[in-house]
């Protein structure tokens, strides 16, 4: 339950922060959430990973659907010849990696204070 709620929290706050703060604010959000959730390392990592994978992947998907498919396909071709849809997935993964790392670091931080 904590895991699911944590994920939802990270997605919501991450989305909000992205409207006002630089793109890397998502790492901070996950760090704080990770510290608050106080889960063990892997679980914390997975929670951040899944949350931001969904946030970034779905946001990219939304953009893709709302007019960004041309640029996504061109960028996919520019960044190593992948499709726009694949790039959506890669976007999610990169976001997920950062979210996971942020959340895990937050979790470990909680353990030392």
């Amino acid at each position: 339950m904590k895991f699911i709620l944590g994920m939802i929290g990270m997605i919501a706050v991450g989305l909000l922060a992205a409207q006002f703060l630089p793109w890397w604010s998502v790492v901070l959000v996950c760090f704080i959430a990770g510290a608050m959730l106080n889960m063990n390392g892997w679980k914390s990592f997975l929670c951040g990973l899944l949350a931001i994978f969904l946030l970034w992947g779905l946001s990219a998907g939304w953009d893709f659907h709302h007019g960004s498919y041309i640029i996504a396909n061109r960028m996919g071709s520019l960044l190593g010849g992948v499709s726009g849809v694949a790039l959506m997935f890669i976007t999610g993964l990169i976001g997920g990696l950062l979210g996971g790392l942020g959340s895990m670091t937050g979790g470990y931080f909680r353990k030392i204070i």
Binding site: W23, I70, I71, M75, T91, L101, Y108, K111
Partner: protein, 797 residues
């Protein structure tokens, strides 16, 4: 302890990835853009998508700099029709919209012009930047701004600048054009200097051509008589822009030859030059030759084709102005277009406006030089190069009496070359010119407007509703003996200096000639009756297009818009028509294998039309290229350490037809034989046949459009944003002039009538400069197919 270690390690990895993804990473020759910044869906590239509905849309622009709000109607192709209360408001809106659609293109083209690419690209563009600074591009642009400031029209460029900046100011990083995100930098404010820099980039592309260094070497290595034989400035049957009925009854300014001795070989390598094929067509036919009884005007400038396109279409409307046409991204007003009364178009004047002078330094620091028997100080300008990721570099550019020293040999005091170029101190005011043309109602309005235009010199064609047509060879053209313009000159005295510029009222022009049309395709301006010597920047005027145009227009009557579209997309190859019969004749009794026979027969049947599905163009062009190289093998192999010019194809064809036993047809590699045109033609044909047989064997069908492909590259050469392998018709020498990377950058036809003019146009690209927009390249296929769109001069409500 273990917990601290875990936290520390985790934090390190987390920080490492965050920083890594926020910064560009050098990878060999390329750089991986900052992926986190670029890919995140909130400020990254995902925000750059833009799919247009294709519906007409009305928006209003409001800003404290505007006197009234401006109404903008975007039509289905996203062409803005701007309705403002005064000219400044209209130009503010133009600047705003150009920034909205073409901001990165405006940034990169002016950076490129001023030698500031390294600030964003790093050391790989440093050499190019240095060259631009040494050529004095910024100096030229600064001089232009100084001149603009003396005239009331300066408010136009100020209003435009404010419009661009109003758009930039409201941008969030997530709105930046994709290229800014990829190269990881921010837009900077626009300035009038940047507008001037854009104009100078055009001047560079169109008027920097010259062969002074190459011809100096040719003269030295081949001698005067061979040079005169192989490199004539004048060809028989010229078809000049100004018909021979025009008399030149004025007293010209004298320019005697200084008789300075030739200067010897020039060691410098020639820096890359704009492709010599760049040119254009324009013409106007009078009502006496049209079905409607009203004039029709046509223009298609052939330029390097890029995405985003060099042109942007728009209508500007105020109570005193109502003009439709294309503008350059960065320049206020309409460059080629029409209003309710008038239409105009431009082609490049091929006159050589660049000369090189040898500088004699008197000190080893190269600060003083010999001039008219005295020591003169050069003006030293320190250029600072801010390079991305590196400390800045400094370089001194030396300005002499002639202009900036461009070619330098370190350690040598008498080998540097200074460049004299009209664009450095141009006396024209483009703001006045284009405003004058945009608002012109009569022929005299047109003539008055263009006297303000100096560089790059243009053949400006004109037509109006009242039935007048005309053309003027307009620009700042130096007066000097042919000798001086042809070769590098000693720079020690005023004796070799230009004797001024052709006075504007003595420039060649014609109004309503008896033949019922005016036109130009970059050929010679006048017959030799014109009192000033005329010098081509590319070794004579072959005028394949110019002669085709005159011949075709001569025979046309009852002309309609459809006829004019057909003429703009005409693919008749006069070069092939002049060379092929003679070449085929030489092969009549030659033994051939199967494929050679096939090609020979295909060529015999060819009508010299460079159509998509014909085999003739592939065979002829390959054959002629081989023939040309074998003919001039002496010059290719003569002296590889000095740059040389090569004879024109026109002279080559003349020799083939008239002097088949000319010494130069002899092959260097066969010392014991003397070849003539016949042996060369056979060898060249056999080689062609082999090459094309191999090409066919790879599964290619023998059709011109399979062989000839057009690429339209992104301005920043990003392949994913470029279009390659486009199937097109035509050739560099046909009216529909298309090369591998250049072609008709805008086709326009304006037909006058009793009401508003009917106009048609298209350019190969789209209104949006955003590779993520559906309007980035939406007009490309129709352009390649030779289609046109109707251009609507919308009414003010």
């Amino acid at each position: 302890m273990k917990a601290i270690l875990k936290f520390g390690l985790s934090a390190l990895i987390c920080l490492f990835f965050t920083i890594l993804l926020n910064n560009p990473i050098p990878a060999g020759k390329t750089t991986i853009p900052p992926l986190g910044k670029l890919l995140n869906p909130f400020t990254g590239f995902w925000e750059n998508g833009q799919t247009e509905t294709g519906e007409q849309e009305t928006v209003y622009l409001e800003n404290s700099d505007l006197t009234e709000k401006v109404k903008i109607i975007f039509d289905q192709r996203r062409v803005p029709h701007i309705f403002a209360e005064n000219i400044e408001d209209a130009l503010f809106a133009q600047g705003y919209l150009l920034a909205q659609h073409r901001l990165w293109q405006m940034d990169i083209s002016t950076r490129s012009s001023s030698g500031r690419l390294s600030e964003i690209m790093g050391t790989k563009t440093l050499k190019r930047d240095q060259l631009q600074r040494r050529r004095g591009m910024v100096y030229a642009a600064e001089n232009a701004v100084k001149l603009w400031k003396t005239a009331p029209e300066f408010s136009f460029v100020e209003a435009y600048t404010n419009g661009v900046n109003a758009y930039i100011e409201q941008l969030q990083p997530s709105d930046y054009p994709i290229e800014f995100k990829l190269l990881d930098y921010e837009p900077e404010p626009w300035t009038p200097l940047k507008t001037a820099l854009f104009n100078k980039a055009m001047a560079e592309m169109l008027s920097r051509g010259n062969e002074d260094i190459e011809m100096t070497n040719v003269r030295k290595l081949l001698g005067d008589s061979i040079t005169a034989d192989l490199y004539p400035q004048l060809f028989p049957n010229e078809s000049p822009i100004i018909p021979n009925e025009v008399a030149f009854d004025f007293k010209p300014i004298e320019a005697p030859d200084s008789n300075t001795p030739p200067i010897g070989l020039i060691e410098h390598k020639v820096y890359s030059k704009p492709p010599p094929q760049l040119g254009s067509n324009n013409w106007a036919v009078s009502g006496s030759k049209t079905a409607s009884g009203f004039p029709i005007l046509c223009n298609d400038p052939h330029l390097g084709l890029t995405l985003p396109s060099i042109w942007y279409e728009l209508q500007l409307n105020t109570p005193d102005l109502n003009v439709y046409g294309v503008c350059l991204p960065g320049v206020p007003g309409v460059v080629i277009g029409f209003n309710e009364h008038s239409a105009w178009g431009v082609t490049n004047v091929g006159h050589d406006v660049v000369d090189w002078y040898k500088v004699n330094w008197t000190d080893t620091k190269k600060e003083k030089y010999l001039f008219d028997g005295q020591e003169r100080s050069a003006e030293l300008k320190i250029e600072t190069y801010n390079i991305k990721g590196q400390p800045p570099i400094y370089d001194t550019v030396r300005y002499t009496h002639w202009g900036p020293v461009v070619h330098q040999t370190p350690g040598k005091l008498d080998e540097d070359l200074a460049m004299r170029w009209v664009a450095h101190n141009s006396i024209g005011n483009e703001l006045k010119t284009f405003h004058g043309l945009n608002t012109s109602k009569t022929y005299s309005d047109y003539r008055k407007a263009i006297t303000n235009f100096a560089s790059p010199a243009q053949n400006i064609v004109y037509a109006n509703k009242s039935g007048d047509i005309g053309i003027t060879v307009q620009g700042q053209l130096p007066i000097r003996p042919v000798e001086h313009g042809l070769t590098v000159q000693p720079g020690e005295s005023t004796a070799t200096d230009w004797k001024g510029f052709i006075p504007m009222d003595q420039l060649p022009h014609v109004k309503n000639p008896t033949r019922g049309f005016v036109g130009s395709a970059n050929q010679r301006s006048t017959s030799t009756d014109y009192p000033y010597p005329y010098l081509s920047m590319h070794g004579g005027f072959e005028a394949y297009r110019g002669r085709t145009l005159t011949r075709k227009l001569d025979t046309m009557e009852q002309i309609t818009v459809t006829d004019m579209q057909a003429l703009q997309t005409d693919v008749y190859g006069l070069k092939a028509a002049e060379a092929l019969p003679a070449l085929l004749q030489l092969l009549e009794d030659t033994e051939m294998n199967e494929s050679e026979k096939k090609y020979f027969n295909l060529l015999k049947k060819w009508d010299y039309e460079y159509r998509r599905n014909t085999p003739g163009p592939i065979l002829f062009n390959t054959w002629f290229t081989n023939f040309y190289k074998k003919t001039w093998d002496e010059i290719y192999t003569m002296d590889k350490s000095h740059e040389m010019s090569f004879p024109s194809s026109r002279r080559t064809i003349a020799l083939l037809n008239e002097v088949p036993a000319h010494d130069f047809f002899d092959l260097q590699e066969t010392a014991d034989q003397k070849e003539t045109a016949k042996e060369i033609a056979i060898l060249a044909f056999t080689e062609m046949a082999k090459k094309i047989t191999d090409w066919e064997a790879k599964g290619n069908t023998l059709e011109w459009s399979n062989y000839k492909k057009l690429s339209i590259n992104h301005v920043g050469f990003i392949p994913a944003f470029s279009r390659t392998d486009l199937s097109v018709e035509g050739d560099s020498k046909t009216l529909n002039a298309i090369g591998k990377t250049w072609g008709p950058s805008w086709r326009m036809i304006v037909a006058f009538g009793p009401g508003k003019p009917k106009a048609y146009g298209i350019y190969p690209g789209g209104q949006s400069g955003n590779p993520g927009s559906s309007n980035y390249d939406n007009m490309l296929e129709d352009w390649a197919a030779g289609k046109y769109y109707e251009l609507e001069l919308m009414d003010r409500e």
